[in-house]
Symmetry: C3
Subunit: 314 residues, 3 copies
């Protein structure tokens, strides 16, 4: 996109909103507090009252109920959050513009892989043998895709991510040394998946690791061998999923959550950050598992008491 500035009426049409005000030119999108009179912003709640009273935004996106809080030009629509997401399309520029289309000459791509014309691969990427990538997908710079990985259409893989490494698989041998279990499986990533920076998605041992459609992973997420991650599930940064665990659809896994291996997590499970899931979850809903933060002197007492619990009923 990025043929900015845009007339407000053009933005209204693009996001499906109705224009209330003057049809001014808009050159960018900003938060209420940093927007100038050339910028559009958004809000969907009265909790932004203070920012609203001070904003210099040339226009805002908001809903009918909240529109009374802003006197200037506005685009009115029911789902403000989605409209805001759509509007960002208009102002986005590629962050690795150096390779607008196609494969960077500074990437290493095996001749034995199949990449359609419109796939973009940044400099420093390594794509090994027998990799298949679907139309419209983007690999940011310095991504590594080992052999026998398939990536769907319209996927985005951010920099530093490694797809298809071996997982942690070993057996103790006769001399009590670790013997490597070779990984014979693949990684299969379906359409419309986005994977953050410096993630690690391991290949399966015998069968495959599968990331279903529309899954969205933040940076530094780890998916171990043989996992299956269900459609539209989203995970926060550093979420760490153990081997062979199956996660349902539309789950939300908080950052720094650990999920043990060989579990089954049903659909629509929401887990708050820094929790350890050690058992399968059969019932949809919200779960938490972090210990509460306290001033250190209180925490010392609470920890000491907690350790005593196990001795009480002896």
């Amino acid at each position: 996109m990025s043929s900015k500035p845009y007339k407000l009426s053009y933005i209204a049409k693009y996001i499906g909103a109705s224009l209330d005000g003057d049809d001014i030119e808009i050159s960018s999108m900003k938060s209420l507090s940093s927007a100038s009179n050339k910028d559009i912003s958004f809000f969907y709640s009265n909790k932004f009252k203070e920012e609203l009273s001070k904003t210099n935004a040339g226009a805002v996106i908001t809903d009918k109920t909240n529109s009374k809080y802003f006197k200037g030009n506005k685009l009115i629509i029911d789902n403000v959050h989605l409209a805001y997401a759509k509007a960002t399309d208009l102002f986005a520029e590629s962050t690795f513009i150096s390779e607008k289309k196609g494969l960077s000459p500074d990437a290493f791509i095996s001749k034995e892989s199949r990449l359609p014309d419109d796939v973009r691969v940044g400099p420093g990427c390594v794509i090994e043998k027998n990799v298949v990538i679907g139309k419209g997908s983007i690999l940011f710079p310095n991504v590594t895709v080992l052999s026998n990985v398939s990536i769907g259409k319209n996927c985005i893989i951010h920099s530093g991510t490694v797809i298809g490494s071996d997982g942690l698989g070993f057996a103790k041998d006769e001399n009590d040394q670790w013997k490597k279990i070779n990984h014979l499986g693949k990684v299969i990533i379906r359409n419309d998946v986005e994977i953050g920076s410096n993630c690690t998605i391991d290949r399966g041992v015998l069968d495959d690791t599968i990331i279903e459609e529309n899954v969205k992973l933040d940076d530094q997420v780890h998916i171990a061998h043989n996992c299956r991650i269900g459609k539209s599930t989203i995970m926060g940064a550093n979420a760490t999923i153990g081997g062979s665990t199956i996660i349902g659809e539309n789950c939300m896994i908080g950052g720094l959550c650990g999920i043990a291996d060989n579990l089954v997590i049903t659909d629509q499970v929401i887990v708050s950050p820094v929790s350890f899931i050690s058992k399968s979850i059969k019932k949809s809903g919200k779960y938490s598992g972090s210990a509460p933060l306290m001033p250190r002197k209180d925490w010392l007492k609470a920890s000491a008491s907690y350790k005593q619990i196990s001795k009480k009923d002896k």
Copy 2:
């Protein structure tokens, strides 16, 4: 290897098992549920009863006790898990086959480093000055090895891993600004070590960081400056070890565990995932330190109570 298919008798001999059934041809290894009649699979417990009743596997590896549960061709051996690990050797292909042997021309390798002929270094790797790598070691694509690092024989370093960075070392100066402590130490990695993707192994400050023989690290593990990790210790993904901590032999550190700095952990310590080890451990055994997962509404109550403990005896 990979001159497949193999006769079942060949596989039996390779793993040291006895063949009970027909000497059919086997082209791959799969789990019980996905195996076809050209595939070999394995099981070592009656808990796989359901998969067994439905499997199409052409053959299985199992032990004497469990062999009665499968009517088809089988390879019988005491240690099924190890036999399965060995059998994967036969079916493994390199996942960066583009460089079957030797150093990728797309790697950056300092002329002042010493690499034997049979070391494999993938595209995108950077190997700085005074690096020594032992025979038979493999560096997957996009690994970074800074100067003065030594890596033993038959090591495997997965993509995106960084070995020999400076750690977090600073002193406050006269103006209350952080002054960098330069890192003068090395990283020494012994034989038969495998390090997962996107790990970070920092060099020592004055002395060296040492990873002993046969250590196995999952992806995204962090080993800080001056650590020593004992022989055959294994760590899950995102395990994070603080500076100067010494970990014994044959330990198993769960994923997302944090171990504070300057500790000594004895041999054969097993820590379950998402635990924080804040004190030295002198006694071998199993330890846990995560808070239990609960439905969020129960967790809110439990957290509130827990916070009260510290106030009770005031």
Copy 3:
């Protein structure tokens, strides 16, 4: 530096200490236990008594109070820790010496970025469009800097780090699919910042992500979109900061800490490792939030009790 060896008197002058003993030649710096008679070491407490009694160090840095514990050559100064940090300057060699100065020909650098002459960029680095880097900064090998990122003077960015990726920003569309929120903001990194290996610093959505002067991040730290990290704050490995969170000056955030999104953490907050900060912190001080480690059999009991708390007052 590195025109070693140095006379002890030269080192004394460099760090501002007074020499007590012979003006011998010193070729390196080591810990008390590994120092030879050509090495200098340091100590600032009687807790090193045992190492002191056995050390072969040719000289030590120490303070007046503790100087009595060592009979050999010594450099005496009040702030031993800072003096030691300064002394490491003399013995440091670059760990990517292959590119002593300037930009590696094996880096990909957009012509539309501005890098002063004395910036060092290692092999495998990717620097996209509209990147500005200040004088004296060093990018270790395999760093990725996406477009519209600015990095101040004298910064150090370690290998594998990714600066300027999109964060986890999505809105559910009419078909219950995730719609990407494009990231229009920048990353701004001020002077004297050091960022460890394999970190991820996401660009802002509408406004910018800002890392203030003298911030020091360990390896694998994650800073989400729109965060602001205050001056001289330091974070341990794998610390994971949620979107739009603002952290004050001179904070110390332990390794594996998670901080939720949209929080405000005041200045001088110290949080011990593996804690989850779910609410804003308005008062400076020390906080902890990890569950205590226990032998597994005790932990099973304690966890069971803890889960019961929520049912007690029903």
